[in-house]
Symmetry: C2
Subunit: 209 residues, 2 copies
DNA sequence: GGGTTATCTAAACAGCGTCCACATAAGGAC
DNA sequence: GTCCTTATGTGGACGCTGTTTAGATAACCC
């Protein structure tokens, strides 16, 4: 950001390339899709040579991880905010699930990137700025725990909760559900309806196996 | 498959290339992972030039779809067989869910390919040799329908069922659950445990919203 | 046998991730 | 200020990819 006379001269050093690359990655992902998200395209968008990113990320992968990390953080924020909406703990669980799925619906490509990277790491990341999105779900369950029938296993329930939300997040985008959404008066109503039917498995169906 | 004297001469025409390519694709996917699954590698494995597949598939994508289709068919078979195991309709639902998740656990890369393609088509495929895996789940729910509390929506329940199974299938591979699996005495016990906790959302938690 | 059609090859194209040698500039020691 | 070190950029190359084109080969049908 230096001026030479009155002509703006692009400085040899970018100044904040690392951040610029991550933001360029996010723009390309949302605007042109994951198949267009190449290292070279990111460098191009940042106005820099194809080799420059290697001074900030050891890999293409490492850059994508940085993009995905923004997503995990944003997801945790969305979940945390949703808890305020459901005053009763029991309703809060549904609100958390809804917030989770809506996040995935509104950032579908980012959400996909997050899980693509997590899967090939065989490890679920937690958002760094807090105890993590997973923990947020667990807390919501603890709050409602007294209302859940015994035998109740907190860990298994948290996993069940997360699995149901994640599964719905991936399924809800399929267009064969479009007419159901329309019949129910919108996407949010549809999502809420499915979430409220997620007891389909469950102990009352298999008492004392 | 023709002999010239005693030396085996590779014939100019393969004879059954289309099938050979799909099988080569499946081998490479399982053995070397999705990132190694290139059109050129498939052609190489089939002993054919990189351009040959284009006489049988218009795209790399179309070849992968053929591989994935085998997966959808196999999944439907697995679900159908699992229904026989649960004699009571109520237990059958859990058995179906378990069969679904176990299929994903045993063919993780194939399962991923199936959904990767489905998502970019924004459409869920049904296995062709029957009414489809989705339909199988729906039937299991119809059988158990009388045992499910009102108000009951079959379509929403089927989606809920599928979502829960799919979500668990993706989550269960994460290694942070390894110690829970060990504590529960194996993967199948773990999966069953989660499935039986999937009532976490559900109408009894949000009566008459 | 001769013409049509299906199938395969060889060679080329642009784009990709990555690495190398080298250029440029910023920062600290004196 | 000058000198040296270190961080950050460029340009060019490598081998890989998906895909297209022109031409070779063989099967099939009249």
């Amino acid at each position: 950001m230096r001026k030479d006379g009155n002509a703006q001269v692009k400085p040899y050093h970018h100044g904040d390339l690392s951040r610029a690359l991550v933001e360029a990655g996010r723009r390309i992902l949302e605007a042109e899709g994951p198949e267009a998200l190449s290292l070279r395209a990111v460098a191009r968008e940042a106005g820099v040579s194809p080799a420059a990113p290697y001074h900030h990320f050891k890999d293409k992968r490492e850059l994508l991880e940085a993009v995905a990390q923004q997503g995990w953080t944003a997801l945790e924020v969305a979940i945390r905010e949703s808890k305020a909406k459901g005053k009763e703990p029991r309703k809060a669980i549904v609100e958390v699930g809804l917030a989770y799925v809506l996040f995935a619906q509104r950032n579908p490509k980012l959400y996909r990137l997050m899980y693509d990277l997590a899967r090939s790491r065989t490890d679920m990341p937690q958002a760094k700025g807090g105890a993590g999105a997973y923990h947020q779900v667990q807390c919501a369950l603890i709050d409602a725990g007294e209302d859940l029938a015994e035998p109740f296993n907190l860990q298994l329930s948290t996993i069940a909760c997360w699995a149901a939300g994640h599964g719905l997040a991936e399924l809800a985008g399929f267009k064969q559900f479009d007419h159901i959404k329309a019949a129910m008066g919108g996407e949010e109503a549809f999502l809420r309806g499915v979430l409220e039917h997620i007891q389909v498995y469950g102990r009352q169906l298999t008492p004392a196996t």
